[in-house]
Amino acid sequence: MTAMPLTDTNLDLNLLRRLRAGDHDALSMLYDRHQGPLYRFAILRSGSSDTAADVVQDVFVALIENKLAFDPMRGALSSFLFGVARNFILKRDEAQRRFLPMHANQANQANDSDRDDIDFDVVDPAPPVLDRLLADQRAEVVRKALARIAPHYRDVLILYEMQDLSYIEIADICHIDIGTVRSRLSRARAKLLALLEVDEMAAPDRMQRSTNTHDTKQEAAR
């Protein structure tokens, strides 16, 4: 895992200071630096490109409106923004949860600290409805399998595997301890692999074809 270099942190702080003073270019630079990772996190977390775009917009509007209490002593701006994006997504989940069947609701309502204690299923009882987002078939299969992982496991998996954040950063973003990050990551990886294997058994021809394509591309890339 790679940590954000100190120079990046200082650059973000400088841009943030200029943004608060009304510097248009500083906002543009901050946006360019952070929109991509935030959007990709939100896509995987919410399963919707529309929601992901709304979340990125909400994050930057909150930054502009000075509604966020960013403390540089507690970590990098990038990690802080992931936490803000996650909170916006959780709020949307909360709104959608009102329309779920009762059994799914009860499972979702167990709070974060309870979830590990009660051996909560790693699979989301009410996965988001997914549109096709990725052109590559194999990547799309993995993304859809990832969307079936329960949200609090999905958070950890995405932030670690896709965003290269450290255990400490993830613990801070998800408000859990490092041991929980470790255990959730381990369980989420195992479940994701199991889901992919089930998919593979369900559609062996399709998977074989796409895996071959994937392997061929990797060979070509090497």
Binding site: L38, S49, Q57, D71
Partner: protein, 164 residues
């Protein structure tokens, strides 16, 4: 629960592939436009800010410093100091004795504030008790006068007690 090396490698390949595919995706351009428009609207204040533009960011620290000096001078020369000698003998609570501020936010956050201001306020002793300070039960309903450094948005940044 733990995956063996083969499983781990297989999963890593799948995730690497997904990550590579995702890298082609960025936030739609209309979001950038909406964010910049929002920013322009927030900062399209009156003709003063238009004319002076970013000069404000250079003037702000100097203005804040000048305001602090003026406030300190006013407190030192205030008639209140002269007519309440008994109270001002208390080094911790006297007005204009350069009593230290207690930071309520991190120093970095305070330093980031472009337009901090100093206000006078009353702090209930109940609040001090909640912060872990020893307060006599008989005095729990009383208040203390204090000066508070607040951000432009009104968020408390630092606090110091003044004379009663």
């Amino acid at each position: 629960m733990n995956l063996d090396q083969h499983d781990n490698n297989q999963l890593d390949r799948e995730l690497d592939h997904l990550r590579a595919q995702l890298l082609m995706h960025n936030t739609p351009a209309n979001v950038h436009a909406a964010v910049m428009k929002r920013f322009a609207k927030k900062h399209s204040a009156g003709p003063f800010s238009f004319r002076f533009g970013n000069v404000g960011q250079w003037l702000a620290p100097g203005t804040a410093l000048a305001a602090s000096v003026a406030m300190s001078a006013w407190m030192l020369l205030s008639p209140l100091a002269a007519i309440t000698p008994a109270i001002t003998n208390d080094a911790r609570l006297s007005r204009g004795n350069n009593a230290p501020f207690f930071a309520l936010q991190s120093l970095e956050q305070i330093a980031l504030e472009p337009n901090p201001r100093l206000i006078e306020t009353q702090i209930p002793k109940m609040m001090l008790a909640n912060m872990g300070m020893a307060v006599s039960p008989e005095m729990i309903g009383e208040s203390l006068r204090a000066e508070m450094l607040v951000s432009a948005a009104g968020q408390p940044l630092a606090l110091r007690f003044t004379a009663q």
